[in-house]
Amino acid sequence: METINKIESQLRFRLKELKQAKEKGKKIIGYVPGGYFPEELVIAAGAIPVCMIRGGDKAAIDASLAYIDRWLDTFYRAQIGSCLSGEDPYYNIIDILFDPLTDNSNRALSDTLAYHTDIEIFPFGVPHTKDESAHEYYLHGINRVKKRLEELTGVEITSDRLEEAILLCNKERELLRKISLLRQSDPSPLDSNHFVMMNHASMIIDKKTQIETLQAIVEELGEAAPNVKEGPRILLTGSTLAWGDNKILNMIEDAGGNVVIESFAEGITPYWYDVKTTGDPMKALAEKYFMDRAVPAWFRPCNEMHKNLVRLAQDFSVNGVIWYQLMIRDSYKIESYYFPEILKKETGLSMLTLESDYDPYETGQMRTRIETYIESIVR
């Protein structure tokens, strides 16, 4: 699996590449994760998309306290801290930050950066219900994004350019899907740390490079014998799995667990659906990014998320579910209270709920709980 290691090096050198591209006049377009920002629009405008998905650092949380209250989601506090302390170099090179507004934690990021920095912040709303008016509002939002990108880059996003970008992003989604589905076999041929890294890379590194790498990985996995140790199969779900927040994956692995499928609001790119390549491409983007994809916990109601998690648990034949959420993310907190009952009823599986504030002191307790859970589902 040499190719997987290439991703690590691509991620390491990405910042340098972006700086070089910027020097050559390319626009670097930042966006907030959550899977509601169509990268296709940026690619069609000849610019470079980059997702602000780094997290896991307690220092960033501490730095945020000068600007924002502590009673907000950990990941978004970390974003505020790492941007305003100057610790995240990605914030220094973006020309604009698009923020698909999902909930209040996310909105706090948008407002705080708009107030305290010179970065142009472009929020656009993601409704919390799926109906016709909501769909239209989301489409209106991405049309605004398109217009702003055209102004910023001076490039008209024609249907042809957009269709080409859609095909490119569909290819990436198809490959991620293919790799993910390989994990339905038992034992799974790759570990979750690697798959999550591929996901993070899909939001950071050059799309064509990423597609080449993923293609090579698909071929390698087709040929290679499974080399992952056996162990209880786990569905890992929750609010955010940031780039750099590997603690949870490592702890599950150390405890003998084997994460075979992940579902997160932020951190796992929604790869299950492609954008349709017929009809109006903007409408097709709104269909895929808003209507088709499975909803996160901040949708009302959120039965669709429950069904999706149950389906993933069944399709990937998992033995247990670990719910990893960050502190002060209301919708996930409330869902974590009543989803276990639904899960139990539908699949017979139990669920372990964990919460993190990116604090090193929480590791010991979390490790004990994971070990106990893994032991309990082995029996």
Binding site: Y67, I68, D69, W71, L72, L101, D103, N104, S105, R107, A108, S110, D111, T112, A114, Y115, I121, F122, P123, F124, G125, V126, P127, H128, T129, D131, E132, S133, A134, E136, Y137, H140, G141, A297, W298, R300, P301, C302, M327, I328, D330, S331, K333, I334, E335, Y337, Y338, E355
Partner: protein
């Protein structure tokens, strides 16, 4: 003598009224588990915290009790029950109530606000309800909203009737609609979500993207359709106009009262004023019927106090605006006066800043959507802050206590931004005070006293210096 007679008489109930309502009163207290000892405690608290010599205050207390009876007994009395979440889309609630008024067969309201006032302020018995909520997906230590702990806890304890419909504003707060969802999951009631997005860029209020009105209006129309299909309730232009008129009459009377409260010395305590101010938030029923009269009575009494030069603090005491009073703790509200501060105004009574003339929208839903946009808080964090800042500029105060609900996500999104922005815009001394308006277990009056005292001392010193002509 009935064990509750002394209490209700203190709250301006007439003897006949108590006799007529006997069964309802006893049944309500039975459901709430309130007995003679609770009545004694309530009497003691009312005498301690409120100016019971004022009939207007006692009338307001009585209205809260009547609202409580109507709320708790709504189902048993065969009424349909419609709840709207907090912070409520008030006007929508009032219009629905007005539309259903002729048959008097609906309870429409914000139940958690009623419980805060009566079980919290008067009986000091809200903690078991909050604890029940904590066990139901709103655990302590996670910054979960105490208002929602209160409602969901009370439903589970069986002291609130399960609604036939809950209306949730789905975009201002994330926790409220999830609590509605949880309520529906546990109790099987219907929920209508009014969705939109607070995605206006920083610095743009009062401007708005017209698409937001289109989206919000579609959501309101969806609610109206559901009201018609489910209950046969029709929101006509006439209902909208008359409902609006009736509640505006009440709010104008409150503004009139506030005019007198702003005298020097300040003639009314925050604890007393709060009883009236919050009526409009939690009660759509008895407030419409009896609130106007109570406010008028209190206004005359306060006017008399002003004529006599009576003040709850000495003349010349530093005047502060507090963002919101506590909903559950009159000790906190009175503490402000005790540390020497006059509180002539809260954020709810700030004069609204000038907004552009309304767009000539034709439908009720569009008009309602635009009003929500201009209110500031439903527009954006900037909208809320700017609305407040503009109102503050036209108000004569020496300082601001910007207290905020620690577990309210929309509030904490803007708490530090508000302080920074208002410091720059107004130059007024400002205390940013993290607290809990709906639960005083962790933010009791005594735990906040030191900070309030320090702020008051600073304002007093500043005022003394200014009077000497040094500053």
């Amino acid at each position: 003598m009935a064990f509750y007679k002394e209490l209700l008489t203190l709250c301006a109930f007439e003897e006949d009224e108590i006799a007529d309502q006997k069964q309802r009163i006893e049944r309500t207290f039975e459901i709430l588990g309130l007995g003679p000892e609770d009545m004694e405690r309530a009497i003691e608290r009312i005498n301690k915290f409120y100016a019971v010599e004022l009939l207007g205050v006692r009338k307001a207390l009585g209205i809260w009790f009547k609202e409580l009876f109507d709320l708790v007994l709504a189902k048993e009395e065969g009424k349909n029950v419609i709840y709207f979440g907090y912070p409520p889309p008030l006007l929508i609630g009032y219009i629905i109530k007005y539309a259903t008024k002729p048959g008097n067969d609906y309870y429409v309201g914000c139940p958690e606000a009623v419980l805060c006032q009566v079980l919290g302020q008067l009986f000091d018995k809200l903690n078991p309800v909050l604890e029940a909520g904590e066990a139901l997906g709103f655990p302590p230590g996670h910054g979960m909203c105490s208002m929602l702990q209160n409602r969901n806890g009370a439903l589970d304890m069986g002291i609130l009737p399960v609604p036939d419909l809950a209306i949730g504003v789905s975009y201002y707060c994330d926790m409220g609609p999830k609590a509605d969802e949880l309520m529906s999951h546990r109790h099987g009631n219907d929920v209508e979500y009014l969705d939109n997005s607070m995605d206006s860029p920083w610095g743009t209020w009062p401007d708005y993207d017209p698409e937001k009105i289109k989206f919000m209006a579609a959501q309101i129309n969806k609610l109206f359709k559901s009201l018609k299909n489910k209950f046969g309730i029709e929101i006509t232009d006439e209902v909208y106009e008359k409902g609006n008129e009736s509640i505006m009459q009440y709010f104008m009377a409150v503004y009139g009262l506030n005019h007198h409260i702003s005298a020097d010395p300040c003639p009314l305590s925050l604890a007393d004023a709060q009883l009236i101010l919050n009526l409009g938030v939690g009660s759509t029923g008895v407030t419409i019927d009896e609130g106007f009269e109570a406010v008028q009575i209190l206004t005359k009494e306060v006017e008399k106090r002003v004529e006599e030069g009576y003040g709850v603090v000495p003349k010349g005491a530093p005047r502060v605006l507090i963002y919101l009073p506590s909903f559950v703790d009159p000790a906190f509200n009175n503490l402000l006066n005790e540390v020497g501060l006059a509180v002539p105004i809260t954020a709810a009574l700030l004069p609204p800043p000038e907004t552009p003339p309304p767009y000539p929208f034709t439908t009720i839903a569009e008009k309602l959507a635009e009003r929500m946009m201009y209110s500031g808080v439903f527009h954006s964090a900037y909208g809320a802050i700017k609305f407040f800042a503009e109102g503050l500029k036209s108000t004569k105060v020496d300082g601001v206590i910007f207290n905020y609900q620690h577990n309210c996500r929309p509030c904490v999104c803007r708490s530090k931004l508000s302080k920074d922005y208002l410091d720059k815009e107004t130059g007024l001394p400002m205390l940013l005070l993290e607290m809990d308006f709906y639960d005083n277990r962790n933010y009791s009056a005594s735990s906040l006293q030191t900070r309030l005292e320090a702020f008051a001392e600073m304002l007093l010193a500043k005022k003394a210096e200014a009077n000497k002509g040094i500053v």
